[in-house]
């Protein structure tokens, strides 16, 4: 069996290439949602935080872990919700009721 670290590095490199290929295809009009959406994905650290806090190894690791869980959860929940809010607004054509945008009146 190969060194697990090598396998992890392999996974890392393949993921970078995959990400690179996919993201270069995202049009400029979606760059802000791409950013906030990928931001939410970087909140994946929440699972690391869950492990660290949940194992209850020492008081210090619980404190660090719980703070990390809270920070990462803000990142995940806030990120996905705000991205959805933005993407809801993107429309290909003029809507008949275009005077009533769904996120706040014009004034």
């Amino acid at each position: 069996m190969a060194d697990p670290l090598l396998i992890s590095i392999l996974i890392f490199v393949i993921a970078i290439f995959t990400g690179y290929e996919l993201i270069t295809k995202v049009p400029p009009t979606l760059h802000t949602p791409l950013m906030s959406g990928s931001n939410a994905i970087s909140g994946i650290i929440v699972i690391g935080a869950l492990v660290v806090a949940g194992r209850g190894h020492s008081d210090l690791s619980i404190v660090l872990g719980v703070v990390a869980v809270a920070l990462a959860t803000i990142n995940v929940v806030g990120g996905f919700l705000v991205t959805d809010r933005m993407l809801k607004m993107f429309r290909p054509r003029e809507r008949p009721d275009s005077n009533k945008p769904d996120s706040g009146p014009p004034k």
């Binding site: 992890s8 890392f12 802000t32 994946i44 959860t73 806030g78």
Partner: protein, 473 residues
Amino acid sequence: MSEQATINLINGLYIVAAVLFILGIKFLGSPRTARRGNALSALAMLIAVGVTLISEEIVEFEWIILGVVIGSVIGVILARTVQMTGMPQMVAVLNGFGGGGSALVAAAEFMRVNDLVRTGDLSAVSEDVAAIALFSTALGALTLTGSLVAFGKLQGLVTTRPLMLPARNIINALLGIAIIAISVYLVFEPNNPELYALVGILGALFGILLVIPIGGADMPVVISLLNSYSGVAAAATGFVLNNNILIVAGAVVGASGLILTRIMTKAMNRSLSNVMLGGFGAESSSSTGGPAPGERPYRSVTAEDAAMILGYSQSVIFVPGYGLAVAQAQHAVKELASLLQERGITVKYAIHPVAGRMPGHMNVLLAEADVPYDQLLDLDQSNPEFERTDVAVVIGANDVTNPAARTNPESPIYGMPILNVDKASQVIVLKRSMATGFSGIDNDLFYLDNTAMYFGDAKKSVQDLVSEVREIE
């Protein structure tokens, strides 16, 4: 279920989550599928969290629930209340929190492994793990404070002018060397929790010093780069915890931020190091040696004149910039556009990649005002259009329309790809005054024969145009 079967199931679910993340990003490639893509990514996150909760030896559920509840409440409130013009600040803050999370997780894991060595449960802290944990903590702390400074600048809490500390390049270099030196020592002598904390603190200090000298208009680059860092820090923590889903998701985000960073620096015709060394725009307008801004003759028009020009044209292109966001003028612009369209005038929008304070900032604002995205043109699409356009209306954009970037090799922005607004038959520039833009350079566009300056607050000006266009006939 046997132990091996459980492990296989868990790994299988992690693979499902990884695939869903990648599909989610793929679907973000088109406005039609983007919302579904975001939902897929969220589902992937849910699966990853679920698998983690059942698979790891989690005993402290009360504490975890506390953290999740606090985080969720704050996350929901932020996502619901943030204004679309405040999106750059929002992304900056979320970025910072992700980075901070990575720093803390890596630190906690490092301490735990150290404890295991002390109690004799583990022979030694592996050098790779120690090195990667230190890297993750330093980078995560840097991302946290850098993002908070960026937030402060975008929110107007910290000056948006580049702030230049004396000898800051030397300070930064020393700080970098100190972080690396302490880290190397810790890799071989890991049993020093205080020193480990010091690496985090120095990383945090580095983040502040790195972003403080960078001016407001360079924020698109900074935010993209911090986005990338938060991904890389997550991936690094994945190596520490030996968790592949963290590595995959972190790597994809790291790549995403890096690509956006490159697009932004290219659109400014500057290198990344030039942006990160900071200070662009710190000097005042004296550099070009020409006449002071506003001293050359220019033509100014009233709302009525501008409305006449617009109302009797056949094609109009709006060129929005950060000024539009500041004045919250997007709904007024859309109202004006609809009015012009009712008169049979073709309306489009030309968007420069670095218009606003983050990549795609203008597109989101116009989407909020219900502008269909197929009316939005990017740099390459818009430039051939200007020659065929009757009126270009510049709203709160400046440097990205300066023809000096094309014509004057002496200009500091020479070579930067710009929107060729000057090629339109007529140009109306909405602006508060003749003051220079962020770069401190006077804009040659304002003095052209076919340019009319229309002074005032962007939102008020556009609203006046709406009333005046209604008056025609």
